[in-house]
Point group: C2
Chain length 138, copies 2
């Protein structure tokens, strides 16, 4: 998974800059041309969802400020909120040390989850009781 | 990506419980038998890293309370911190609405990133300036 480009960045000091197009070109998209994207509420810090972007959706997200994913089920660009109104406004976008994951802080309009829960992560393991629990109602 | 099991959970109310083994059996592991896992600092809310688990590493994580991933580069179980001492103690583990991503809140010993930065997400896009910036030194 290691890429020389990102290994070379490891020693870079704080505030070192590089061209954005270079960074995007070096991202480690998977065999389907996708990278996983974490959407985090920029106000509360709550992790809202994990979805996927291809290069086009990433570029569109950066250009428009509206989170735009790649829908693997529909095989199409997916402007989050286009049908529900639950848009996500991009506040910051970060790349990880291996260049194979993105973290986006967003302002979430309404619910992130299609079940109308705030976050998609609403099923919590309770290993002490060999069970799992639903943490919020839809 | 939709699975009937998770569709049926969508209408479940808060505090509804189910067997943990059932939930794990129904997870949507990908063709490599893996799911992406977000590790979030349980104190600060900072997103630390994204890694991958197979079923065995998930079960070991739940049994031991120590975050155990699947290393795709080494093709082996990876107890985070086993070589660096930078263990992650599991505080909570959640599954998302599609059953294809996990969110773990952890207590991080030392740095999450192998560059000794707190978080792996240290490269931030600056689209207004067509650049990206390193946000912390290694």
């Amino acid at each position: 998974m290691k890429r020389m480009f990102f290994q070379n960045l490891e020693q870079a000091v704080c505030n070192h800059t590089l061209p954005l197009t270079t960074l995007i070109d070096e991202l480690a998209f998977n065999q389907q041309g996708l990278v996983p994207v974490i959407a985090q509420d920029s106000n509360s810090g709550e992790v809202l969802m994990l979805a996927w972007m291809n290069k086009t959706s990433l570029e569109q997200t950066l250009a428009t400020g509206r989170m735009t994913y790649w829908s693997r089920s529909r095989n199409a660009l997916w402007i989050k909120g286009a049908s529900s109104g639950h848009y996500q406004q991009l506040q910051s976008l970060r790349v990880d040390c291996d260049g194979d994951a993105l973290l986006c802080r967003v302002i979430q309009q309404g619910a992130a989850c299609h079940t109308l829960r705030k976050s998609c992560f609403y099923i919590e393991a309770d290993p002490a009781n060999h069970s799992a629990v639903i943490t919020s109602s839809g």
